[in-house]
Symmetry: C2
Subunit: 336 residues, 2 copies
């Protein structure tokens, strides 16, 4: 039987993980280089980070943003959570014949304005146009290059039992906003995508806090999948407290009605950090002063280290504990 | 009336030029940064070049290559003709649900092997899967980063009347090869795409030849469009001799039958150079020793410099001279 790519291969969960391992890592080698938010290389004495993402979000306009804004913030955030200062970006467009020029202009203008706000320079571009039906309106690739300070405070090797897990704000907003735009669901029409460039907030944190171990942005696959990956990559067990995870009431309501779990919904303006528990309070104070961090919460802790396999545990409101896996199968295709 | 994007906006000719100027340059600023094969930035003392391209070639397999090989060679060549040594590359995949896994594997493997041959490292990647009908099988973005030597011999400011125009080999092969795969035209089934990584050949040339002014790869829009751009960018007039331009007989025949002009057909393994005429002979000697340069020819000269607007002239076999413009309107969509 011919094995075929399914939508679930692109969800950021278990099948994506397998596809990357079995096809890309096998061919391109060295998995460290191509799996995480950014890859690193050296140029003279300077350490650089590079990351790439293709954005296929549907629809291309949604409450709180559009595909262009998302293509900037997503790539900026991938660099920022890697401890890099985003500097340069390329932007490549695949456009469907017939796209209104006005739509393209709006999208490009919001890219320019978001890039300016995030202080990154778009330095190279490419444009392809394909026949009607060969792409759905517009896809954008952005590739970002950032500089990494030698003394940037990330110290993944120092993750310790008892370290705090912090999320920078409410989860699930982006997923529900895109879904509401797609399905025209009246009940959830006030929810906006959280898509935002987090580099300046992250810069403040890394400048002022010593004990940040590692950061990640919980996009495709959501908070749970990202935490599972952290557990596996760093051979740790993490326990999070379901009640501590900030979720807007309307997002929670929409998820209940639609049968989604906010823990697996995509976010585009949030990051997770593992931080020395003694620095958690100070980190929260900095976060709470910032628009993009005002709902930040400590949601759990590192339970144990040096495990052969990582494990994510969820403490439920009734006090039970269950293990969470990465997203498996299909949730919401084309969320970013 | 709603203005809409047309296929011709993606052909690499007049309309692409206008779209870039009116939408992208307007929003992102500084046209030098985003128009040419690569953009440059500095990191410490090191000058770096970056370039991005999305590949949408149809079909994804064609004689002489596939979309994956093309995605490596195209980006390698963009860096190489800019005088940069390609070092790192990112690869981002947009996959249509249902694509046979075997096809994806073949493509990814040929990327790995071409990257190895060209000595570039694929350091970061991304995978998206979209519903059937939302992309045509597979599109790939590659973004390349190269190092630029301070003493690399390109000297565009020294273009002088009498400088030679050299093309590294026969033109039109890629265009006809893709077309033959698309239309299943029996008569032209022996023509293979020229897609190849030219960086090692170009390195040899820049190491050994002093008087290279500028190089370009004549992809979308073909030799004529690329030369028009050179004329406009450097305010020069160029005259080329139609009879000197190397075209394979079968490519010429296919073009005649199909009504195409080889001068506007895409190439994926060729470059043009403007070189001090005193160095042209030596450049040709180096080229002729190399597989990818064995059919190199001097095809024309710089007629005059410091012109307000550039102009490309073609001397026809009967001795007449006519002006060539960049590709206008629709020739062959999705050629790269």
């Amino acid at each position: 039987m011919v094995q075929r790519i399914s939508l679930a291969h692109g969800e950021g969960g278990e099948l994506t993980h397998n596809l990357i391992q079995e096809v890309f890592v096998k061919a391109f080698g060295h998995s460290d280089h191509i799996q995480h938010d950014s890859a690193f290389f050296r140029c003279d004495q300077q350490k650089l980070a590079v990351t790439t993402d293709s954005y296929v979000v549907k629809p291309i306009f949604f409450p709180g943003g559009n595909i262009g804004k998302l293509a900037i913030t997503g790539t900026v955030n991938d660099l920022a959570v890697s401890g890099a200062t985003p500097q340069y970006m390329t932007a490549s467009f695949i456009i469907e014949e017939g796209l209104p020029l006005e739509d393209l202009k709006k999208i490009v203008e919001s890219m320019a304005s978001e890039a300016k706000a995030a202080q990154v320079h778009i330095v190279a571009g490419d444009t392809k146009v394909v026949e009607k039906g060969s792409v759905d309106q517009l896809y954008i690739n952005t590739t970002g290059i950032g500089f990494v300070k030698e003394d940037n405070s990330l110290e993944p090797d120092r993750i310790t039992e008892g370290d705090s897990i912090i999320i920078s704000g409410t989860i699930g907003d982006h997923g529900i906003a895109v879904l509401s735009a797609r399905e025209d669901l009246g009940l959830i029409s006030n929810i906006e995508s959280d898509c935002a460039s987090l580099n300046q907030l992250i810069q403040e944190l890394t400048d002022q806090i010593e004990g940040i171990r590692v950061m990640r942005d919980p996009t495709r696959g959501g908070l749970a999948t990202t935490l599972v990956e952290l557990c596996e990559d760093h051979h740790i067990h993490i326990e999070i407290d379901e009640e501590a995870v900030p979720v807007r009431n309307d997002v929670k309501g929409a998820c209940d009605i639609l049968g989604f779990d906010p823990l697996y919904m995509a976010n585009e303006g949030k990051f997770i950090m593992i931080v020395n528990s003694q620095c958690a309070q100070k980190a929260l104070e900095i976060l709470h002063k910032h628009t993009f961090g005002k709902n930040a919460q400590t949601i759990g802790r590192v339970n144990s280290c040096h495990e052969r396999t990582g494990k994510l545990l969820l403490k439920t409101p009734i006090g039970a504990t269950r293990r969470l896996q990465r997203l498996s199968g299909l949730l919401l295709p084309r969320i970013c």
